[in-house]
Amino acid sequence: MRKFSLFLATLTVLCAVLTGCGTAVPQFIQTETDGMAAAQWHIGFGDAIISHDGLEGPFYIAGYDANREITGVLDEMRASAVWMDIGGDGILLIGVDCVGLGRDRIENIRTALSPFCLETGCVSVNVYSTHSHAGIDTLGLWGEVAKDGKNEAFMDRLTEACVTAANLAHADRKPGKLTYGYTPTDMQYDSREPIVYDNHIYQLKFTPDDGTAGIRMISYAAHAESLRGANTLLSRDFPGVMSDLLLEQTGDRMIYMPSAIGGLIMTREMTQPDGSFDAEKAAELTGQNLIQYVYQIEDTREVEPVLEIARSIFEIPMDNTVYLYYRFLGILGNETRESSESGTGYNLITELSLLKLGDIHIAMIPGELFPELVTGEYMDENCQRPAANPTAENPEALNDIAARYGVENLMILGLANDEIGYIVPPGDFMVHPETPYLTDTGKIDGENHYEETNSVGIRAAERIAQALESVLEAMYGAE
């Protein structure tokens, strides 16, 4: 009896330790060739329309005011997938033309892709949103107030489209070369100080050896909302225009990857010569102009066939009471864990991954990152207003963290594998003193601090920086 009790106790402790370790250690995957040939890029593209035809509504349009239904269709939402391997196991990147996808939906897509992954040797499925502000609500925040605005039948179709796109991408895979390049643009606008954003448009271009159509992964720091707020027509916005133009003019397929767009980075409003605003023409003009910049990317270099990914699942203290209410009502699908370190008593669980393509590193951030968190260019004396929370410490810049591990080319992919909202620098973080997170501050310091009302809390930025450090350490060893 005593031996059995000892055995049980040991087993209990072992399980506790293993369970605890399982959630703390980042996962690192280094893909290799199958041993038959030298490493070479094999990349494929697939896409599928996410249609709401035949489904019973309502279908709320996401991005601006709540409780507005779509009134027509400019162009349909899509799931676009890129399969990548270097001759062995592969990694999937799926972009969805929507405002955002919660981690519960990402897990749902991953589960639906389990048979595909077993069959194809896919070791990592990564899903991001283009952040289109003219898509059907996929987060549940744009229905009637405090009511889930998602249409579950449509969300099932979204998952199905991701599975279809993934299968098509794998079937399309071909050997070829991958190149990297970028060029500056003059298209953006930052609505909140400090005025900091990356004005470059980046391109990872895959050219198959057989001369058939290529694939372009375009990264740019701008909210996909050139149609602006009055629009109620369903659309992919300018990423859709870019994709269609590129296909028509070159035959190449494209995915659009939003970069660090928090704070709030968008393309400038494209007005007509008479000063009026036509939403459809604005989206067309924005897409046309951006494609012209893409064609200007000349100085490119080849990307060595190295494919690795590291992922960290971590927690952020959830101070935002609206997030608490929405989780309680089942609108927000993220897992939470009870914790005394947050204002609500709960931490939100999310993830961050680092994708390595040659010497290019793409940090997949689960939300809308303020660009100053990447560069370290925080509020200073040159700004028109003082920092709202000067005693709070801003985390080390993501570029600086990456540089400590020898990473010079850090790209950001936002809204990846989750959408936790804005990730705001703590030094400028301010909430309403009486009704925090429910209302913005009003312009008490010249800024209404709207982004804070759609953030997990003040510690999100610090936890993102820590998560990036942990995946860099998993990939390169301790610094």
């Binding site: 405090a146 608490l324 209410y325 989780r327 089942g330 897992e335």
Partner: protein, 141 residues
Amino acid sequence: MDPVPRRTNEKFPFRAAAYLILAAVLMTLAVCALSAVLIRSMDSFLLYAGQEDFAGIFAQLEDAELTPHGTIPFLLALLFLTIIGLLIRKIGGWSVIPAILLGILLITASLAAAVWFTDVNGIRFGTVMLSLLDMIQAGAF
């Protein structure tokens, strides 16, 4: 000679304790099940109270993932059943009114505890109610 051996006061009443624990467990299971029904029916109560807007919001709890936490309801049930049992032994027989009153208190307290400590979609019901109360007092709604 008495054919049935009497229990002396020195011996611990194991059988009575076992019945007590069993009764507390059954009571806990019942209140946890009832608390789930109450939470899922919150919209009906709010409608009855004339709060249509809030009823529409809380109707979303009909499909919620509920995880009851039975520890506090169990301890409350154990406490009240012990008090009832001791009262019955002291008075020397069933005393209807105190037993009923205590029974009502027991059920109400256990049910309230069960509802309060139930996790709704991973969030404790009581935590949300306290937070909403703060917001209401701050004039948010």
